[in-house]
C-alpha cells in the first residue's frame, strides 16, 4: 500500500477544510471496507485519508414516525438492522444492510460508504432510490441536498466535488400501507456481489388491493443504480397481483443495459431484473399488508 | 514366466501383441529380453539405466518405485503406467 497521511477530524467544518485544502488526493474513510481494499490493490490512491467516524453528524441515527429517518453517512450497517423501529418501517433497507458483505463487514460498512463507493452493484443504493431518500452533502461553501438517484454518475464516480462530504441520508416517513423489499441475485448465499439487484417500494390504497404509489430501482444492470421510472409509474393504480408484478418486471427490464462479465451475461442479468422485480414487489406488497 | 503388458502405443513394435511372456527375475531382465525379441522397445521404455521419466512399473496390483530393479515373481504381471502422485 502506498504511504498516506491520516486525519480524524471531529467536526464537519474541520473535515471539509481538510478535504478542500489537501494536496494531492484526499479520501474519506468511513468503514474502510471498500477504501482499504482499493488502496491496497492500488485501484485508488490517496495522499490523505480523512476518517470521518469522529464527526457526530455522520454517526447519527435519528428516526421518528413523523419525520422519517436521518441516517449519518458513516453509521455501520449493524446499527440499522439492530434497530427495531427501522426493521418495522424500512424493510428494504434492512434487507440490504443485512447482506453488505458478511457480519464482520457490517460492523464497519455504512450505507453512506456504499453510496460513495458508487458501484453499479452497490446493495444499498437501489434501496435509497426506491425509498425516495435524499443525500445531505456538506462542502466548503455550505450544504446541499440531492435525491439519491442522482448521486452516482458512473461506475465508481459520483457528484461529490473536491472538499465535499456526504453527511447523511434522509428518508421520508414510510407512509401508511407501504412496504418495501430488496433482493439481489448472487450465486452463493452470502459474500458475493449482486449479479442483479432490485429494490421495490409500494404504497397501497386504503383497501390494500391496489397500488397507489411505487418505486422500483435496479442494481448491477447499468453503469449506475437506476430508477425504473416507467415501471414505477405504470404500477400506479394497478391491482397488487402476480400479473401486475410480472408486467412491471418486463417494464423494468427496459431500463437495464448490463454488460456481460464473469458474473453473468447481459441476457441473464436482464432476465433477472424481471424475476427480482416481480419477487420484490410481491414481498413489498406482502409487507405493506403487514 | 512373468507376463509383460505392452502399452498400447508400443504395440507397433510387438506386431500388435498386447501381452508378452518373457523370462526374467527383475524388471531389467524382462526389458532386455523384450528388446531382444522386439528391438527398439527398450529405447521407448528406458533412458540410460532407468525407466523414462513419466513411467512407473506396476507389478500385479502394486505400484513400485524400484523401477528396473524391482523383483518379479514367476507369475508376475508387469505393467508400465504413468506415475500416480496425489494431493
Amino acid at each position: 500500500m502506498r504511504s498516506f497521511e491520516y486525519e480524524a477530524p471531529s467536526s464537519l467544518a474541520e473535515a471539509t477544510a481538510l478535504l478542500a485544502s489537501a494536496k494531492g488526493t484526499a479520501r474519506v474513510l468511513a468503514g474502510g471496507t471498500d477504501l482499504v481494499v482499493q488502496l491496497r490493490e492500488r485501484l485508488r490512491d490517496a495522499d490523505l485519508v480523512v476518517d470521518v467516524k469522529h464527526i457526530p453528524e455522520l454517526m447519527e441515527l435519528n428516526y421518528s414516525p413523523g419525520m422519517g429517518l436521518r441516517l449519518g453517512a458513516s453509521v455501520p450497517c449493524y446499527r440499522i438492522y439492530e434497530n427495531p423501529d427501522l426493521v418495522a418501517t424500512y424493510p428494504a433497507l434492512i434487507d440490504a444492510a443485512h447482506i453488505v458483505g458478511g457480519w464482520q463487514i457490517q460492523s464497519r460498512a455504512s450505507i453512506g460508504g456504499n453510496l460513495c463507493t458508487s458501484s453499479p452493484a452497490g446493495d444499498t443504493i437501489t434501496t435509497l432510490i426506491a425509498l425516495g431518500a435524499h443525500c445531505v452533502i456538506a462542502g466548503p461553501h455550505g450544504n446541499r441536498e440531492v435525491p439519491a438517484q442522482e448521486f452516482c454518475t458512473a461506475p465508481g464516480k459520483n457528484l461529490l466535488q473536491k472538499g465535499e462530504i456526504l453527511v447523511a441520508i434522509v428518508f421520508p416517513g414510510p407512509g401508511q400501507k407501504s412496504g418495501s423489499a430488496y433482493e439481489r441475485f448472487i450465486p452463493r448465499n452470502e459474500m458475493d456481489i449482486a449479479v442483479a439487484g432490485v429494490s421495490s417500494w409500494v404504497r397501497l390504497d386504503a383497501a390494500g388491493k391496489t397500488i397507489a404509489e411505487a418505486r422500483v430501482a435496479l442494481a448491477a444492470v447499468a453503469p449506475t443504480p437506476r430508477f425504473a421510472s416507467e415501471a414505477s409509474q405504470w404500477l400506479v393504480g394497478k391491482p397488487a397481483t402476480a400479473e401486475t408484478f410480472a408486467h412491471a418486471g418486463e417494464l423494468a427490464k427496459k431500463v437495464a443495459s448490463p454488460i456481460s462479465d464473469m458474473r453473468g451475461t447481459a441476457e441473464y442479468r436482464t432476465h433477472l431484473v424481471g424475476v427480482l422485480t416481480k419477487r420484490t414487489l410481491a414481498k413489498a406488497v406482502e409487507r405493506a399488508c403487514g | 514366466m512373468p507376463v509383460v503388458f505392452i502399452p498400447t502405443p508400443m504395440r507397433d513394435l510387438t506386431g500388435g501383441e498386447a501381452t508378452v511372456t518373457v523370462e526374467g527375475e527383475f524388471v531389467r531382465d524382462v526389458i532386455d529380453a523384450l528388446d531382444r525379441r522386439y528391438p527398439g522397445i527398450k529405447d521407448r521404455l528406458c533412458r540410460g539405466d532407468a525407466l523414462v521419466p513419466g513411467l512407473q512399473v506396476c507389478i500385479d496390483d502394486t505400484m513400485t518405485r524400484r523401477g528396473l530393479n524391482a523383483r518379479l515373481a514367476p507369475q508376475s504381471e508387469v505393467h508400465f503406467l504413468p506415475p500416480i502422485g496425489g494431493g
Binding site: 480524524a8 467516524k53 457480519w103 464497519r108 | -
Partner: protein
C-alpha cells in the same frame, strides 16, 4: 513513508501502545508490531474472515481496519478467549467436535462464533451459518464447525446462571 502515529488501545484486557504508519492495517499491527499472531491473514481483503477480531465489541476483519483507527479502542483476539489457563467452552467444543483440520481459519471462526453466542445464546442452524458466512474454511466442509457452535451454545446455556 509517512510519520508513525502513537496509538493506545486495550488488547485482551491489557493496555497496549504502539507506533504505526497510517497504511498499516490493524492485522499488521497485531501480528507484526504486537506479535499477536493468532489472527491470520488469508486474503487481506475482507473475504475470508481468518483475521477476525473484536473491535469495541463488534467482530471485524482486522485486515480492513487501519491500525491508527484503534486509538482508544478495545480489542479482543483469539489469544484472549481462554482465561485463567482454561479453554473457553467454545474452544473445548471445537476440539471435542474435531471442528478444525489445518487450523488456519480457526481463530477467526472462534471469535465470530463467540460473538454470535454472546449476542444470541440459542441460534438456529441457519443463524449460525448466516453469521459465519464471512469465515471461509476449506478443510472441514463446515459440518463439524456448525455442530461445535451448537454444542458450545448448549454448554454456555448450562453454565449460565
Amino acid at each position: 513513508m509517512s510519520k508513525k502515529t502513537h496509538v493506545t488501545a486495550t488488547l485482551n484486557g491489557e493496555t497496549v501502545e504502539f507506533l504505526c504508519e497510517p497504511r498499516h492495517s490493524l492485522l499488521e499491527v497485531l501480528r507484526d508490531t504486537l506479535q499477536m499472531t493468532g489472527a491470520k491473514e488469508g486474503c487481506n481483503n475482507g473475504n475470508c474472515g481468518a483475521c477476525t477480531v473484536m473491535l469495541n465489541g463488534r467482530p471485524v476483519n482486522s485486515c480492513l481496519v487501519l491500525g491508527v483507527e484503534a486509538e482508544g479502542a478495545t480489542l479482543e483476539t483469539v489469544e484472549g478467549i481462554a482465561s485463567h489457563a482454561h479453554l473457553h467452552p467454545i474452544q473445548q467444543c471445537f476440539l471435542e467436535g474435531a471442528a478444525l483440520q489445518c487450523g488456519i481459519c480457526t481463530p477467526g471462526f472462534l471469535i465470530a462464533a463467540k460473538a454470535l453466542l454472546e449476542q444470541n445464546p440459542n441460534p438456529s442452524e441457519h443463524e449460525i451459518r448466516f453469521k459465519l458466512a464471512n469465515n471461509l474454511c476449506r478443510c472441514t466442509g463446515y459440518d463439524k464447525i456448525v455442530k461445535a457452535v451448537q454444542a458450545a451454545a448448549l454448554e454456555l446455556q448450562k453454565a449460565a446462571p
